[in-house]
Amino acid sequence: MVKTMILEEKLRAQLQQKDILLMTHIVLGYPSFHVNRQVIAQMVGNGVDCIEMQIPFSEPMADGPVILKANQDSLAAGTTVKQCLEFGAEMTAAHDIPFLFMTYYNIIFKYGEEDFFMAAKAADIQGLIVPDLPPEMSPDFFRFAKTSGIAPILIFAPTSTNSRMDELNTSADGFIYCVARRGVTGAQSEFDGEFDSYLNRCRAATSLPLAVGFGIRDSEDVRAISGRADIAVIGSKTIQLVDTEGVEAVGPFISNLR
C-alpha cells in the first residue's frame, strides 16, 4: 500500500490507466455504518477510484433534499464525529483507494482544526472537502492541511470569475471540485456549451485534476464529461439507489458507469 503518496499523484497515477476516474459520496452513519461498510466494499470492488465520506452536520446548507435527509437521519440515529473518524480509519485500512472527508466547517472548528487534521491524518484520510470554508476565512486550516499532508479540496463554481479561480487555486491541493451548475446537490445538470466554456476556464486556472460534481447520475453523464474532466463525482444517486434498491444494486450501477 502506497499510503504516503499524496492525493494528486495518486489520482494522476490512476489517470494513466483510465479515461475518467469515479469518485462517490456517502453520508456516514446513513442508513448505518454497517450499510456504509457494505456500500464502500461494493464501490471499491467495482472500480471506484476515490470516496468522499460526509460527516453529517445538522445544517448542511449546500446540500439538496437527498443528502440533507441522510444527514438528519444519521444524526437522529446518534452518529458522532468520533465514530466517523474511527470508521474512516477502518476504511482506509481495508481499501487501497484514497478516502476523503467531506463536512461543514463547524464540525472541524468545534473539534479544533489542528486536532481534526491530526485525527484525520491518523485515520489515513487523503483530503478534506469543506463547502462552506472559503480559503480567506481560515489561513490556519490551510497551514494544518499542509503540515499534515491532507489535501484541502477547493471548489470552483460557474459563478467564479477567472481571478477568483486563480486565487482559489493558490490554496487548493489534490484536485479541484468543479460544481457543474448553480444549486445544491442532487438535481440534474446540463453538460452543454456553457458548461464547456466553464470547464475550459477551470482548466486554465489550475494544473490540478478537475472533478465534476452535482447532478451526475448515469453512464451518459459520465460519458458526457469524459475527456473534459478528470473525475466524475456521483453523489445523491447512490444514496437514492441504496434507499430504493438496497446495497446490492450499488456494484452493478458503478460498473456500468464507465
Partner: protein
Amino acid sequence: MENQTVFGNWGGSYIPEILHQTFEQLQDEYLKARNDPHFWQEYSDLMSTYSGRPTPLTYAENLTRHFGGAKIYIKREDLNHTGAHKANNVMGQGLLVKRMGKKRVIAETGAGQHGMATATMAAKFGFDCTIYMGEVDVQRQRPNVFWMEKMGATVIPVVDGSRILKDAINEAFRDWVSNVDTTHYVLGTACGPAPFPEMVSWFQSIIGMETEKQIKQQHGKPPARVYACVGGGSNAMGIFQGFLGNSDVELVGVEAGGKGIKSGLHACRLCGSDASPGVAQGYKTMFLQNSDGQMLETHSVAAGLDYVGVSPILADLAEKKRVRFESATDSEVMQALDLTMKMEGIIPALESAHAFVQAFKEAPQLSADEAIIINQSGRGDKDIFTIAHAFDDPSWKKFIIAIAEEYNR
C-alpha cells in the same frame, strides 16, 4: 461602525463558492450605498412616507408610577408599517435590490414578521417573492402566512430539521445558490455572512438615531439603560447604535429564557453557559450546539427569538462587556405583557415583551431622574393565536371551535 466583515472573534463569511460573486456584488453595492448620502435620504424618505417613521418614543407614565423608579420610555417600533422593526431592514434591502437590478427576493421567517415585511416590500417594489418558513412556525403563525400570500408571495413550509427559523434560513440559502443571478436573499436579522450583520444593523440604526434625539428632547439627557430583546439581534443593534458611543448608557440585551435557563429549553446564546463558539449559516458566533458542533433545538414562546445563533456584532459587544445580556422566561413574558396592556394600552409582541421583563426588574433600582428605554420591536396583535392560547382564554377557544364547526359543515 466602519465596514467590517469580522467583529473581534466573530462574524465572517462562510459561504459556498457559488455565492462568492454575489456577495462581492452585494458588498460593493452596500458600500456604495453607505458612501452615498442620497441613499440614506431616499431610505429615510421611504420610511417616512411609507412606514410612518419616525416612530414615537412614548413615556409610560403608569408603568413608571407602578414601579416607582426610573422613568420608563418605550420606543414604538410596533407602529411601523407591518407592525415591527423588520420593516426598516427590509425596505433598505429593497432599495439595494433595485440598485442591483435583481427582480426576485427570498427570505426566511420565524415569527412571520420578517416574511410579512419582505412580502410587503416585494409588493411595493414589484419583485417576485418566496418566503421560507419552518413548518412549526407556519402552524403557529398562520395569519401571517395568509397575508404574505395575499400580497403575492409564495410561502414554502420547510419540513427539514427542527422545522423552525434556522431551517428556513438553510432552505433560503439553498434557493439562493440555485437562483443566484436573479435573486437576492433578504436576510431578516443582523446575522449570516458579511455584509449582512453590518448591513442589517445599519438599516436598523434608524431606530437608535431617532431614539437618541427623542430621549434628549423629552427627558433632557441620555437614558441610564436601554433594553432590547435579542433574537438574531437586529432590533437590539438598531437601538443600541444610538448609544454605543456613550459609555454612560448601559445596554441590555434580553434573550429568550423559555422554560428557564436551567431547563435547557431556551434560546440563550450570550447569557447562561449553554452556548459555545461555532460556525453555521455562514458566520461565526455563539451557537447553542452540542460538543460535536451539531445545533440544538431551542425553545421560546416567541417564535422570533427561537434561534440557535446570534448577531456576531452582539457576540463581540458581549465579549467586550459593552452590552449586558439577560434572559426572560416564557411565564415572565406573559406577566409583563399583561401588565403593559392593562397599564398603558400597548400590546408588545411576545418577542418585545422579553425586553419589558428585564426593564421592569431593574426600573425600581434606579432613581426618578433617570430614564430607561425599552425597544418595543413589534406589536402583539399579530400573535393573537399564540397569546390567546398562552393565556388559556376560554372564550377564544369557544370562538375557534364554533368557526371550525361552521367550516366542517
